[in-house]
């Protein structure tokens, strides 16, 4: 086993990996940018190294700096988390070249799955069904038009280097093709440095369901059930569940089998996720493979009882999987909400800033994977995920009820979050019934009645509290005081005295 692990990431996922390492008795090394000196992962790690200014291009994305810290700290393995360099084959290769184990798949597997065109071509040879479309890059507009008319409109144009909902465009009919192709190409070039695109048939009202896999270096691979990730906003997942309300044991077995064929096609080891699009006839199509730990991994952990981060570390250390497919048992149901620093009432604008007050939910069935603390200033420089809240229940209904209860307990003040937005979605009758597609949130937002949920009494009490607080600033009314004090009258005190 490794003697020390460098975590090449920040925020909640760095904290998550530190916890796994600690439970395995492995010391951890954190890295931090100037914006993250006081971040939770820096406080929790055994060691911490500064790696530069706030912008990730100058810190968390600089391969040389991370390799340098790995060598200086004598870490013998690097966990990349997700995002940043997690799916960067050059980083994986740089680790290997420096003699440090990359806790992830081989650089070749990453590169293969990183190219959507390549991965489609490879996977297609293993009998995995995928969304009808091109297996080769689209060379010209003429070719695009020909392909689209052969598979039928509407279609999607997708960047080969894209993924995770980035670099794609919907083409409804022939006249839209020209500009869509041009725009996708130029966007892909500037975002990924690669303007290769391909075409897929557009699947209407699909669900997004993915299979978690684990594969070791000895050719053993298992799947750990599926996750329903259909609830998305702007192609970004916001709620995930395990199991999917749609998938039964038979479908799960078929999807798991397809996922294991993808693992084989990619010669894959590590934890990984095979994403499928599912149409209204419950047919599923290979979409892409994420060659890393997934943000939403906790729901699978809660339902299978298997710690995916520890498994990643054991696999990277060369251990064989200690269980077989038949040992993987799903129990109950889990749901995760991604708590973002954003303002749902204002077009989901990011809401960085200081967390003045924080109360996280707890109690039965609740798991909070947070990367922040009260008093921390959420930086403007990174993605707005502050915590992942997950709830487990013996049934899906119980999991949802627990999540609602936990959302009600959750209190973040000072920045805005999407907590009450989730409470609303969980009350939606279609969501409760498990009826959903990837357009769920967009449609719901349009139809949503932006009613003021506040009652007259609540509003008056809010005013009362504000007035009381204003009065308290100059002279405490409610604080317990010694009998001799009469602070109410002492209105001349500085208002800021009691601030923290």
């Amino acid at each position: 086993m490794f003697s020390k692990i460098l975590i090449a990431n920040r925020g909640e996922i760095a904290v998550r990996v530190i916890r796994a390492c600690r439970e395995m008795g492995i010391p951890t090394v954190a890295v931090y940018s100037e914006a993250d000196r006081g971040a939770l992962h820096v406080r929790m790690a055994d060691e911490a190294y500064a790696i530069g200014p706030a912008p990730s291009r100058e810190s968390y994305l600089v391969i040389e700096k991370l390799i340098d810290v790995a060598l200086r700290s004598r870490a013998d393995a690097v966990h990349p988390g997700y995002g940043f360099l997690a799916e960067n084959s050059s980083f994986a290769k740089a680790c290997v070249d420096a003699g440090v184990t990359f806790i992830g798949p081989s650089p070749e597997s990453i590169a293969l799955m990183g190219s959507k065109v390549e991965s489609r071509r490879t996977v297609s040879q293993y009998g995995v069904e995928m969304v009808p479309g091109t297996l080769d890059p689209v060379a010209s507009e003429e070719e695009a038009l020909r392909i689209a008319s052969s598979i039928g409109y509407p279609v999607m144009i997708k960047a080969s280097a894209g993924g995770g909902g980035k670099g794609l465009r919907f083409v409804k009919s022939e006249p839209e093709m020209s500009s869509a192709l041009r725009n996708t190409r130029s966007e892909a070039l500037s975002a990924f440095g690669d303007d290769t695109v391909y075409i897929e048939k557009f699947v209407e009202r699909p669900r997004h369901i993915e299979i978690q896999v684990l594969a070791d270096l000895h050719g053993n691979a298992v799947y750990l059930g599926e996750r329903e990730c259909t609830i998305q906003r702007r192609h970004q997942k916001v709620i995930e569940e395990c199991p999917s309300p749609l998938v039964d044991a038979e479908m799960r077995a078929r999807m798991g089998d397809a996922a294991l064929r993808v693992v084989k096609a990619a010669n894959y080891h590590n934890a990984g996720t095979v994403e499928f699009l599912v149409d209204r006839d419950r047919r599923f199509y290979f979409l892409e493979m994420n060659t890393r730990l997934q943000v939403e991994h906790p729901v699978t952990e809660m339902v299978t009882g298997i710690d995916l981060v520890k498994q990643q570390i054991r696999i990277a250390a060369g251990e064989k999987l200690s269980f077989l497919q038949q040992d993987v048992v799903l129990r109950g149901s889990a749901i995760e909400c991604r708590i973002y620093a954003e303002d749902p009432e204002n077009n989901f604008f990011p809401s960085p800033g200081k967390i003045h007050f924080l109360r996280t939910p707890a109690g039965p069935g609740i798991r909070d994977d947070s990367g922040v603390y009260e008093g921390w200033t959420v930086p403007i420089d990174y993605d707005p995920l502050i915590s992942k809240l997950a709830a487990w229940g013996a049934t899906r209904d119980e999991a949802l009820e627990r999540m609602k209860r936990a959302l009600r307990e959750y209190r973040v003040e000072g920045i805005k979050t999407n907590i009450s937005f989730f409470s609303e979605i969980l009350e939606h009758p279609n969501f409760k019934r498990g009826e959903m597609d990837t357009g769920f949130i967009e449609r719901w937002l349009e139809s949503r009645d932006p009613e003021s949920r506040i009652s007259g009494v609540e509003q008056d009490l809010a005013v009362l509290a504000a007035a009381l607080h204003y009065a308290q600033q100059s002279a405490p009314i409610l604080q317990a005081g010694k009998p001799t004090e009469s602070p109410w009258k002492t209105s001349g005190r500085i208002r800021s005295l009691r601030r923290r």
């Binding site: 620093a341 954003e342 303002d343 204002n346 077009n347 989901f348 604008f349 990011p350 809401s351 960085p352 800033g353 003045h356 007050f357 403007i380 420089d381 990174y382 993605d383 707005p384 009600r408 209190r411 003040e413 000072g414 805005k416 009450s420 409470s423 003021s452 949920r453 506040i454 609540e458 509003q459 008056d460 009490l461 809010a462 005013v463 009362l464 509290a465 504000a466 007035a467 009381l468 607080h469 204003y470 009065a471 308290q472 405490p476 009314i477 409610l478 604080q479 317990a480 005081g481 010694k482 009998p483 004090e485 009469s486 602070p487 109410w488 009258k489 009691r498 601030r499 923290r500």
Partner: protein, 180 residues
Amino acid sequence: MEDIGPYSIAPAQMKYTAIIQGERVEVELNRASDFPGRIEARIGGRTYVVEGQEVEPGLYSFIRENRSFEIAVIESAEGYVVSIGRSRVPIEIVDSRTALRRAAHHGQDGAIEIRAPMPGKIVKVLVTENAEVEANQGLVVMEAMKMQNEIKSPKKGTVRKLAVSEGAAVSAGDLLAAIE
């Protein structure tokens, strides 16, 4: 251990004006002398008797007619943001002096000021000064936390002022444009 002795503060009355969602509400707080934490309040003419405690800084536990409420009051740029249940409302409290001062500041013109909802960078300016814009037409594109967001005009009108240029870094609350 701290002395958490009994409350014994003299009775008192305080009057304020609250501004909530554009409306002014008169507030009168009366603290009873005989009962710890008891507040009698008149809010916009309605009477409330509340037993209150500041359980954590800025966090109030109210019990009214045996119902338990938890209310957070957090300072913001323009007063307070008050959270109760799932709702969050901005409330400004002014005493008589402040109210006078603010009155002098008001009533300048009918232009709506568009301010940055978050700190970030202006990646694109979509209009020019004096341009005519429709309601919901994009004015500028801001980037923060790896996300780009279009700031839109809340109404049809003319861009009276354009306060930022491409590449500018702005803080939350900075003026972006004024639409008249």
